[in-house]
Symmetry: C2
DNA sequence: TTGACAAACTAATATAATTAGTTTATAGTC
DNA sequence: GACTATAAACTAATTATATTAGTTTGTCAA
């Protein structure tokens, strides 16, 4: 295989993610990514399927990264400790990757089986942690949704600057986690 | 003032909102809104300040609508009843106006004092309901953030199709509210 | 050395947003 | 009832982005 340049799918996604986190997701265009990589726009099509493909690639990458981070956070911990650790890591992932995080919301469509799989894996990490609580199976699934809702709502508002007032956001987050844990058993 | 046509700022925003809710927020462009109204694109500039102005107008409109809906829901109710009523209305607002709801996240920038005011009013509704709990003042503000986080996270995931599995979302939502209320006093 | 081919390129097209400048319809005035 | 000022429409032109088609080029392997 003759790589004319050191470029490939992964490198393109990385460049896009870097732009998204530094300049904001809305500034990620084929034009800006191509400029970042020092190539012309159409050349990107050798590595991603247009803008939609780029965004899909970012989402897939992001879900993998987040899943791995959560799994690592919960390794060797149980119950409330594990929940707390995952929550903290979830938030710090979103705060350090605000642009990338925003791509995660895209619902995987029919064809995007890879993204659907990755999302399922993310779900499984949380489910594994909840296993220690011996919840009825449906109840565990509801709690996965509730965990995600709480985390996503908080960080999405935080990233968007929705918490305007001068009130410690760390405090709010800790209270949120406390409420989640209190509601769990 | 000679209105050549029955068009004004409000009518433009309404058309945009209708498009956003029916076709998705991403399909709201100056082109699509102009087409919807039967005018050419530049004519829109007589009523809104470009795409940014249109989006700002939608956000402002949405915050007002949601605030009013929440206030109405909580009128004549107290404590858990009021919280529950607000939560249900918050969710149904988001589900009936998925496109409009997505515009609400935009953080009000410095100049957008009208949007900042509207956001403050939304916050006040929730604060008024929490008053019945006699929380310490900071604690009440934290709880406002927590309420918003829970609501936003749930509906944002729901709208995005993030709850893929065959598990009743109404059930999940009710459990979420229960956890919120349990964490309140 | 050469040839296959992946990966770059140029060129052309379509859509969107924006600005500048022009036309037109109506509301209020004479 | 005609006149005029003006808001609100318009056309035209510019810029940016995404996409597709077709061409060139550099490198790896034979």
């Amino acid at each position: 295989m003759p790589p004319k340049r050191g470029l490939n799918h992964e490198a393109v996604i990385h460049a896009a993610v870097e732009l998204a986190d530094k300049q904001g997701l809305e500034s990620v265009t084929l034009a800006s990514v191509a400029a970042q990589l020092g190539i012309r726009i159409p050349s990107l099509y050798n590595h991603v399927s247009g803008l939609a493909g780029l965004q899909r690639g970012m989402a897939l990458y992001g879900v993998h990264q987040l899943t791995e981070a959560l799994r690592r956070a919960a390794t060797g911990k149980a119950k409330a400790d594990a929940i707390r650790a995952m929550a903290v890591v979830y938030r710090s992932f979103a705060l350090t990757h605000p642009g990338l995080y925003r791509t995660l919301l895209r619902a995987p469509s029919e064809e995007e089986t890879d993204l659907a799989e990755a999302s399922a894996e993310l779900l499984n990490v949380i489910l594994d942690v909840l296993a220690a609580y011996d919840l009825e199976s449906d109840r565990a699934l509801h709690m996965v949704r509730i965990f995600r809702s709480m985390m996503h709502g908080f960080v999405d508002l935080e990233i968007a600057g929705g918490f305007a007032m001068a009130l410690d956001t760390d405090d709010t987050f800790n209270q949120l986690i406390d409420i989640l844990i209190k509601g769990l058993p």
